[in-house]
Amino acid sequence: MEKKDIFYPDTVPILLYNKHIEYLKHVSCSSYGNSYDFKSTESIRMSGIYWCLTALDITHSLKEFLQKPANNSDSISEEERIVNFLLQCYNPDGGFGAAVGHDSHMLYTLSAVQILVLLRKLDLVDKHKIARFISTLQQVDGSFAGDNKYSEIDSRFSFCAIACLYLLSLLDAFDLQKHPSSPFGIDTNKAVDFVLKCQNFDGGFGTVPGSESHAGQVYCCIGVLTITRALHKIDTDLLAWWLCERQLPSGRLGGLNGRPEKLPDVCYCWWVLSSLKMLGRLHWINKEALIFYIRACQDPETGGISDRPGDCCDPFHTLFGLAGLQLLGAASELQEINAVFCLPQYVVDAIEEDCCLDQLRAHRDKNAK
């Protein structure tokens, strides 16, 4: 049977670092808001902002961008514009919608919290209220719904919930295992149990128990197990092997697909790589071939990265391409990225410090009584 393959060029550019910064600034600034690509993706806007800002941050361009005046006016900065937008998406139920007027959803609540953490503006929201919203999404079997009304279940939402609580520094405080008599909280054991039920014959993870293994779901499930320190419960080698089998030879290029017999895609470079990093098996893929693949997906004219060589680029693939290159050690220009949260490492370090500070504060207050 003839195998599908991608188009791949003969030569591959180096990392077009400055071009990507140019692209990111272009798609992040307020005037881009008039473009079709921007307006037609309103129902994922919050995630779009997170992708842009994180990519800007790892290319050391975030601070400068945030201080720029929005809409070429002097009244507010890009940062203020983004924060205003975010707060308008903060719904009465404690969750965030993708855009103004859109319903609360777990996906966009995570993206919003990631943005707030990036901007160091978590104090603008009621963290406990967000955590309470998240806790209402957990089902009896430990899974998480996407919203508090219509019960779409997906292991992605388990990751969103756990990651969000961690970024809010409330994972411990909202852990019913640790505070069983608390009126609000999540059962982390059950959350882990559900995720484990999503594991398949090949070691991979799917959307819900019984669903086919998919690299995106693997990232989410391994993320949950990493944050809750439950990785020892799975067969690491089997999963890591399934993950490294995602690499496909196309000439010198070696991109990654999301599941067997599918085409490679830069976003899978991230989902697979970060999972391998969490599993301690990053060396199981061929770094050079993957680096060539990601670099072949760059757009030398406009900057930005696409899913495959020759395709249109977008912020989603730009972030994951850059993040992938950083994880591979192929881009010393970039800030270190954290594999679990897909946020700059220094941002995640600050959360851990906050956690420690909270613990210290609690300890000190206890002793003072």
Binding site: D147, D202, E212, R281, N286, D307
Partner: protein
Amino acid sequence: MHGRIKVRTTEEQNLQKHKEQQKKLTAYRMGMKQILATRDADSYNKDSLALSAQLLTINPDIYTLWNYRKEVVLIEIKKSYQDEVADDQKLIHFFEEELRLTEQCLLSNPKSYGSWHHRYWILNHHTKPNWQREFDLCNKYVSLDDRNFHCWDFRRLIVNKIGISLADEIAFSTERININFSNYSSWHYRSTLQILNDENSVANDLILVQNAVFTDPIDTSAWFYLRWVLSHPGITKIQKEDLLNALEQLQELEPECKWIIMAKCWLVKQGNLEKDAICRLKRYYTELIKLDPLREGHYKDCFKVF
């Protein structure tokens, strides 16, 4: 965002495209504005409902609009309980309209989470759901794209609802595999059917998957399933030996196929590793590094076990 080839367009094409895009954006902006302005817990506006259908047909990922439609359905359900004259037909017609909308959306975008979830949600509230029809829909979509995991997930939900027997699903799985060995989703589905129950079923599946890998050794799907079958404690020594011999023969025909060597590793690795087995495994991993250099890191770690 995936698979959009970058094409060069003329100025005239750009202008035309821009015109069409502006039209779509205006429709979206005005539509959303009206729908959100008329959104209410106790009543709904028929024009807004119609607008939401138009917008979802163009973009089924506007999840807020699927939520809105669910609210409207709940209002209709509540109304039908409160009405003095029971009008089952009106409510059923309403449900059917929702299903028709999701089907329309799925035709142009068969991978939208929102469309599949809305359909299932409607069926759960439907007073007279036609599960057979849903089954047929599943089969239709699997035929169109047998890797569409939304469709397989939907099938699993339906099967639970109407209590289709495991034996029937096993037969379906066998049929799908025989239509196309290169279908990872079919092999995966099979693995969820509690199939490796006894020696007989293990032997049967070994034959099925062996047939697949020998027919098309380049396709990876069946090899993953073979690995799983071989990990079952019910595999006999004779079955392993027979398979090993067959693999040696296949290797002569397909010397470049790494999967054959991988399968030999799986067979030799089981049980206590005597000196001879370790020698063979070392030889196999060395061959694998040559044939499959992308995964050298993995194979080198396999060496370390000895």
